[in-house]
Amino acid sequence: MAHAVDHAPAHDDAHGHHEQSFFMTYLWSTDHKMIAKQYMFTGMFMALIGGFFAYAFRMQNAFPGMHVPGFGMVTPSDYNMLVTNHGTIMIFWVAMPVLVAAFGNFLIPLMVGCDDMVFPKLNRLSYQIFLLSAIVLIAGFFVPGGGFGGAWTAYPPLSAVGNYNLTPAGSTFWVLAVALEFVAFLLGGINFITTSMNSRAPGMKLYDIPIVVWTIVIASILFMCSVGPLIAGAIMLLFDQNLGTGFFNPAMGGDPVLWQHLFWFFGHPEVYVVLLPTLGMVAEIICVFARKKLFAYQTVLYTMFGTGILSFTVWAHHQFISGIDPRMANVFTITTLLISVPIAEMLFVYIATLYKGSITLSTPMLWALGFIATFLIGGVTGIYLGTAGSDVYFHDTYFVLAHFHYTFFPIAIIGTFAGVTHWFPKMFGRMLDETLGKLHFWLTIIPFNCIFIPLFFLGLWGEHRRIYSYELFDELWKYQGIRQFATVSLLVMLAAQVIFIFNFFKSLRSGAIASPNPYNANTLEWQCPSPPPHGNFAELPTVYRGPYEYSHPDRKEDFWPQNSPA
C-alpha cells in the first residue's frame, strides 16, 4: 500500500501508472498533499451547496413567495432548513476542512521540512470520517420530513423533540453528522500538533517555525480542548431525540440552557479555530508580497496563544438574554471586551509589517489585504455585541448576522481564496491567471460589502433573524427594497465565483508552469519542486534562520531561504 502511493506526485501522470488504481491514488492515499486536496475539493463542493442554499433563502427573503429558479417554492419549513444548513455547512464543512484540514495537511509537512505527517494512516482515516460525515449530512436533507431546520445552533427543546421541529429524522442525521465531523478533526488535529513539534527539519527552532504552522497548531489545540463538551452534548441530544431521555427537557429535570453552554463553550473557541489559520496564511502572504520580515514575530506568537486561552472565557456573551443569571453578563462583558486587545494587536502588527515594505498587489496579496480591511469591520462591530448593555437590543437581529458574516466571510472565503491563489503553484505546479484572479477578487469583495453593510442597518432598525417573510411586520416591511438590494448583490457575488472556478480548472490544465519558488519566498515549501513529489524533498532540508528574512541588509537579493547555508 505504501508503495502504491509512492508515485502520486500529480494528477496528470497518476492516471497512466499501471500499479495505481484511481481508488488508491485519490481515495485511499496516505500522502498528506493528496489528503489536503481531498479536503479542499470536498470543502469547495460543500461551499457550492452552502452558497446555493444562501441563494434560495435570500431570494425568498427579498421576493417572498416567488418561484426560485433552480429551487422552486421555498416553504417556511424549507426556509428554516436552508438557513440552518447554510450555517452548518459553511462553518463545519467549508471553513473547517479547507482552512484547518486542507491547508494544515498541505502546509505543515512542507513548511517544517519533513516527508509526511507523523501518522499518515490516521490522516487518511480522518478524511474518510469527514467524507462520511458530509454524506450523512446531505442524506439528512432527503429523509421524510426534510432536513433539520432548528438553526445551526440547534437549541433544544426545538432540536430535541420531533413534534416541535417536525423533522425528527432530519435532526437526528444533522446531530450525527456534526458529531462525526468532530471526530474527523480530532484525528487530524493530533497529526498537526505532533508533526509540527516532532518532525521539524534539523535546525528549525520553535521561533523559526512559520506563523501559519503555529496558528494551525494553536487552532488544533483549541479545537481539542473545546470539542469534548459539545460531543458530549451532541450525544445527549441524540439520546433526547431518539431514546426519550430528558437531558434538555425541563419536565424531566433537564435544562435547555445547558445545551447553550456546551454549544458555545465549543462555539466561541471555534471562531478562533478557523480564524487562526487564516491569520497565519495572511501573515505569510503579506511578508512575501511586502518583502518584509513579520513585525515582532514573538509578540504575534504569544498574542495568538493569549487569544486562544482567552477565547475559552467568553462563551456566554452569546447568552446574555438567554435566561442565565444576569450577573454573569457582567463577567462575560469584561472577558469579551478584553479579547479585542489581542485581536486589535494582531491587525496592528500586520499593518506595521506593511510599513516601509515593497508591496506588490498580486492576487494573493489582494485577498490578504482584503481580509484585513473587512475583518476589521467584523471586529469592531463585535464590541456592540460583547457589551451586554447594547446586546439587549442587537441580540438575534440582522446586526449580529452582518457582524459574524464580516468575521466568517473574511476568514473562510477570503482566507481560502488567499491561500488557494498563493499556494496554487505549489499544489498543482502551474500558475493561476492573474487578470482573472484580480477580476474575481473585485467582483467578490465589492458585492460582499454590498450584501452585508445594508444588513447592519436592517438590524439596527429592529429586523430579527430567521424570518420567512416580513410582510406581517409593519415596522420592517417598509425596508423590503434594502433586502432586495442585498439579494441582488449576492447574485452578483455568486455569479463571480464562476470566474474562479474557470480560472482554477483552466490554469490546472494550461497555466504557465510554476518554478519551485515563483515568489522568491523563504519558507521551506518553496524550496522543493512544484508540485512536490511523494516525500516532498529530494534531500531533507536543514534550517539556518527564521522564515521571514526578507530584504536583509547583508544580502543583495531581497530574500534568504530558511535552508540556504549562507
Binding site: 416553504t75 417556511p76 428554516n80 431546520g149 437549541y155 433544544p156 426545538l158 416541535y164 421541529n165 417536525l166 425541563p250 419536565a251 511586502a290 518584509k292 520580515k293 513585525f295 515582532a296 514575530y297 514573538q298 438574554i321 438567554s322 457582567n330 462583558t333 471586551l337 486587545v341 494587536e345 496592528f348 499593518i351 506595521a352 509589517t353 506593511l354 510599513y355 516601509k356 515594505g357 515593497s358 508591496i359 506588490t360 484585513i372 480591511a373 476589521l376 464590541i383 456592540y384 457589551t387 451586554a388 448593555g389 447594547s390 439587549v392 437590543y393 441580540h395 437581529t397 439596527l460 432598525w461 429592529g462 430579527h464 406581517l472 411586520f473 415596522e475 530584504s551 541588509p553 531581497d558
Partner: protein
Amino acid sequence: MDIFNFTRLPALSSFATPIDDVIGWVTVMVGFWFILTEAVFFYFIFKYRKQNSPRAAYITGEEPELFRWISRPHAAVLVFDVFIVVIGVRVWLDVKQTLPPEPVPHVRVIAQQWAWTFVHPGPDAQLGTDDDIKSVDDLHIQTNQKYIWELEAKDVLHSFSVPAMRLKQDAVPGRVIKGWMDANAAGVYEIQCVEICGIGHGLMPGKLYVEDAAQHAAWMQAHTPTARIAAN
C-alpha cells in the same frame, strides 16, 4: 436627549435612551479606531507600493522605538474597553438586574408555537384573580406605568422582543423569568419572537397597545371576564 437613537424607532421605554447611548458611545469609540486603522492601512499600501519603494526596510519589530507604535495603541484600546465596560454594565444593571419596587402591576407573557398569550392583571392590578384579562397576541399597557412581566414558554425557546422599547428576553420552558418595562407614549408597537421556534417562527408578530390612563381603564372595563359575563 436621544441624539444617539439610530434605530428609526421611538425610544419608548425609560431604558431605551440609555441603551441607545451605549450604542452611540460604542460607535464613537470603535469608529475612531476603525477610521484610524483603515486610514493607516490604506496609506501604507499606497505609500509603499513597489514602484515607490523598490527595496523594503529590514525591521524586526523588536526595536523599542518602533514597537511602541504597537504597544501604545494596544494600551489605548484597553482604556477604551474599560470605558465601554463601565457604560455597558451600568445600563445592564438597570435593565436586567433590578426590578422596580413593588407594588407594580405584573403581566404574564406566555409564548408557545406560534402565538403569544398575555395575562393582564385587570382592574384590581393583581395577577391570579378573577378579573385577569387574557388575550392572544395583543398586550395592553398604560403609559408611564412600570410593569413587571413574568415570561414563560410552553414548548420550545422563544424570545420576547419589543424593539421600540429595546426590550428582549428569551423565554425558557420550565422557568418564569421576570423583568420590567414601561412606555412613555401611547400608540401601537410591534412585538417579535426573536428566537427560532419552528416553522411558524415568522408568524408570531404581537401588538403592543400603549394607552393613557383613561383609555386603559376603559379597555380593562370592557374586557374583564366579569364585564363579559355581565354583557352575556
